[in-house]
């Protein structure tokens, strides 16, 4: 196909040709050829692009990802992270709702966890049944009495949001254990800036590159010795075979701290050390990317090769901080999710800024009956699972599947929740040589340093690539988009001042022996398996359908 010259009315081959809107919320277009106000500029720029031009830029994008090793493992194979070339825009006003709503939620969940592992007042006041916690697989009694030095348990969280047909953001899921994906947020942005520099000229996009410095500050603030003692922070990874290894190494490098594996650590008399070439060096804060179950073989799985024996008691003794805290999973399973609006009311005396998706608890008999009657219209999710696994989508299920799930939820109602289907919003997405609507969700990341909950202005927008699919998940054929939070007036001036200050600061700092066998690449196969098994809270996170 010949390349057409750009004209004032746009090229002949319009990337948006045949683009359909529907009953869902499209983030860019109110109706075909009628962009929303926030997207006017982006829409204009895209219309001026030819398919060939877009193709070339995508090739550049792929090369950049592959050479930099920005990949995720799918069934043991490394693939470049799938980034769609069209960004998702969030206006300043929309972002303010998300930012305050996410922060509110995290504050309430922090208080809940502190209560659960402390006095249990919320149970005594009968807001939440003790049963919710006592029957949770993630409730770790061994964590009772482990007091985080600055009171923070949810140092990092990822709150998954979806946007319904009316344009309202709703929370789909909380990730309070080891939410992942933030490295892709930063790398997606870096790549977009190289591939589409002109878009950044015409938009004022709030930066995401300073995530790591916020994270480091929050981790240092969590140190038992306080932030002033220049605490030693490490990132604990299961190892190179873990799907999120790229992210672990990314965060360690960006923070300038050591990336350690379990075998680099040793606990001695309730103090944590790492083995270095000059002996053992004390560690104050462990940002761990290993599941609770594998963290400390003394308290959890005794066969774990990934963790460090004695770590939990070192934290209990107040000699090291584990971030995120052990046992957070009790507050982020899908059953606990149904109580979060109550937690916001109980602990904060506030109304939730971001509503939940309507969800039914199947342990309550009336709700179970109600759900069984309407099962063909609902989504059923296993309480514990993530990665979109085990999901049942009523409208798409066969009769056999429906019958099987009915039996399953009757047999084990604690293991499931039912949700109304949410028709996720769409964003134009490159499919072949043109753009089509694809459903998306959004995972903003929040960091709690004990003083305030900071929400990264941006987030991981995940895309369901098959047409009509509502399951956005990289382990289930999903992609991602760069998420642009546009600066409001206050941010532009504030940001400019900040930039100036930084610039000034920057200016001021002016027989033939056999071959050796190679380094120890970690525990052999068994270890690799455990590394892969680690719970991934994204970037192929729990399904977002419904």
């Amino acid at each position: 196909m010949p390349k057409h010259a750009l004209g004032t009315h746009g090229p002949v081959e319009d990337l948006f040709e045949g683009y359909a809107t529907g009953p869902w919320w499209d983030e860019m277009l109110e109706a075909p050829s009628a962009p929303r106000k926030v997207s006017l500029g982006l829409h204009e720029t895209l219309r001026a692009l030819s398919a060939t031009d877009l193709e070339e830029r995508c090739a550049e994008r792929d090369r950049s990802f592959r050479d930099r090793g920005i990949t995720f493992s799918l069934s043991g194979e490394e693939r470049p992270f799938p980034l769609d070339p069209v960004p998702r825009l969030v206006s300043a006003a929309e972002w303010e709702v998300i930012e305050t709503g996410v922060a509110q939620r995290v504050r309430a969940l922090e208080m809940f966890l502190s209560d659960v592992y402390g006095r249990g007042e919320i149970f005594a006041d009968r807001i939440v049944p003790r049963r919710l916690v006592a029957t949770s697989r993630h409730f770790h009694r061994a964590a009772a009495g482990v007091e985080p030095p600055n009171g923070v348990r949810i140092h990092v969280s990822g709150i998954d949001l979806v946007r319904d047909a009316s344009g309202e953001f709703r929370v789909l899921e909380d990730n309070l254990r080891i939410p992942s994906g933030v490295s892709y947020v930063v790398e997606n942005r870096r790549t977009m800036a190289r591939v589409f520099p002109e878009l950044f000229v015409s938009h004022r996009v709030r930066p995401v590159a300073d995530y790591a410095s916020h994270l480091l500050a929050a981790l240092q603030a969590a140190s038992p010795r306080g932030a002033r003692g220049d605490p030693t922070v490490v990132v604990l990874t299961p190892g190179v075979h873990n799907a999120a290894y790229f992210e672990h190494s990314f965060l360690a490098r960006q923070m300038g701290v050591e990336l350690v594996e379990g075998r680099d650590l040793v606990c001695r008399h309730n103090t944590l050390y790492m083995r270095t070439t000059s002996g053992e060096e004390r560690v104050d804060v462990v940002y761990r990317r290993i599941d609770d179950d594998f963290l400390d073989p003394l308290h959890f799985r005794p066969d774990s090769l990934l963790g460090c024996a004695g770590l939990l008691n070192a934290a209990r003794a107040g000699n090291v901080t584990i971030a995120n805290a052990v046992g957070n999973g009790v507050a982020d399973d899908k059953l606990a999710y149904t109580y979060v609006p109550d937690l916001v009311g109980y602990y904060l005396g506030e109304r939730p800024i971001l509503p939940n998706v309507p969800t039914y608890r199947l342990e309550e008999p009336e709700q179970l009956e109600h759900v069984l009657e309407r099962i063909g219209e609902l989504v059923l999710k296993p309480v514990d699972a993530s990665g979109g696994y085990g999901l049942f989508i009523g409208p798409q299920a066969s009769d056999e599947e429906t019958a099987a799930i009915s039996v399953a939820i009757r047999a084990s109602p604690r293991s499931w929740v039912a949700q109304e289907v949410v028709l996720l919003s769409t964003v134009p997405t490159k499919v072949g040589s043109h753009l089509e609507p694809r459903h998306v969700d959004l995972r903003p990341f929040a960091i709690n340093d004990g003083e305030r909950v900071w929400v990264l202005p941006g987030g991981l927008t995940r895309v369901a690539l098959p047409r009509g699919s509502l399951v956005v998940n990289s382990s289930q054929g999903g992609g991602s988009k760069d998420t642009w939070v546009l600066a409001g007036d206050e941010h532009t001036s504030a940001a400019r001042e900040g930039d100036d200050a930084e610039r000034t600061a920057a200016a001021a700092l002016a027989e033939i022996p056999a071959y050796g066998s190679g380094p120890d690449l970690g525990p052999a196969t068994g270890g690799a398996e455990q590394q892969q098994q680690q719970q991934q809270q994204g970037p192929g996170p729990p399904c977002s359908a419904g």
Partner: protein
């Protein structure tokens, strides 16, 4: 009349080759309660290692220690002096309705749910109803304990530390740990919150003061009848002066006296002695 009892619990682990590192938690310190005062308690370890002392979720005092020098044997010695009180009769006034109150059931949900050692088993569940469902809760407790003693033989050596209530019941016998686990299944099934209790039992009802005897670890249960009250399903005796309470939990897994990990070496032998001396 209350007793004052001195306890000395010595565990000696011998390894065939040196152990290079070991991490352990000892749950061997008697618990203070309204029926037991702890006057002294001490846990020591050889090779010498500093311990972190903390109170766990179940209110049990834990000594956590780790050893990094190579060692061929590990000796853990727990000593204490406690004052125990005579048995109290079960509270006969509590009703099934009171126990069935959703607030009570939710408060003690963990002690009503099945566990690995005390699993839900339809056969046992049915038996528990047949034996005791028509009685008041306190009478049901008595009836169930009596029934266990009639249905199970006390037979040391026939079960292991890992045997569940179900396995012990099927084979018709076991030791105090098994009796306690079977009792937990039956009691919880009727809706009576019940917890596993470990400690020591002085073997003599009329123990002379000042004489040290070889005692042993023992296990019984506590039931919630408006308040927590102990019963001993193994021997049917009231739980009183002779029982020293150490730890409580959902089952044996929550109260295991020594729990740990080591590497290098293999365990060759384990020797445990419990010395009990009535002091007053």
């Amino acid at each position: 009349m209350s007793w004052r009892i001195a306890t000395r619990h010595i565990s000696t682990y011998r390894y065939s080759s040196p152990v290079s590192a070991s991490y352990n938690e000892a749950r061997m310190t008697p618990v203070a309660s309204h029926r037991q005062a702890v006057l002294e308690s001490h846990v020591s370890v050889r090779p010498v290692a500093p311990a972190l002392r903390y109170v766990d979720y179940w209110s049990t005092t834990v000594h956590a220690f780790d050893i990094h020098e190579p060692h061929d044997d590990l000796v853990v010695t727990a000593s204490s002096v406690v004052e125990t009180t005579p048995a109290e009769p079960l509270d006969r006034d509590v009703t099934w309705a009171a126990l069935g109150d959703p607030a009570v059931r939710d408060r003690y949900v963990e002690l009503l749910e099945p566990t690995a050692y005390a699993p839900l088993e339809p056969e046992l569940a049915e038996l528990s109803r047949a034996v005791a469902a028509h009685e008041a809760p306190a009478d049901a407790v008595d009836a169930l304990c009596a029934w266990i003693r009639s249905a199970m033989r006390y037979e040391p050596g026939t079960t292991q530390v890992s045997t569940s209530a179900l396995e012990a019941w099927r084979q018709g016998g076991g030791v105090c740990q098994d009796f306690a686990h079977v009792a937990l299944v039956l009691l919880r099934n009727l809706g009576i919150p019940a917890r596993y209790t470990s400690g020591y039992l002085h073997p003599m009802a009329d123990a002379p003061v000042g004489e040290t005897v070889n005692g042993a670890s023992h296990a019984w249960v506590e039931v919630f009848l408006g308040a927590w009250q102990p019963v001993d399903p193994t021997n049917g005796d009231p739980v009183g002066e002779r029982h020293v309470t150490v730890a409580r939990g959902r089952d044996y897994a929550d109260v295991s006296p020594l729990h740990g990990l080591y590497h290098g070496g293999t365990l060759e032998s384990l020797e445990v002695t419990v010395e009990l001396t009535r002091l007053a």
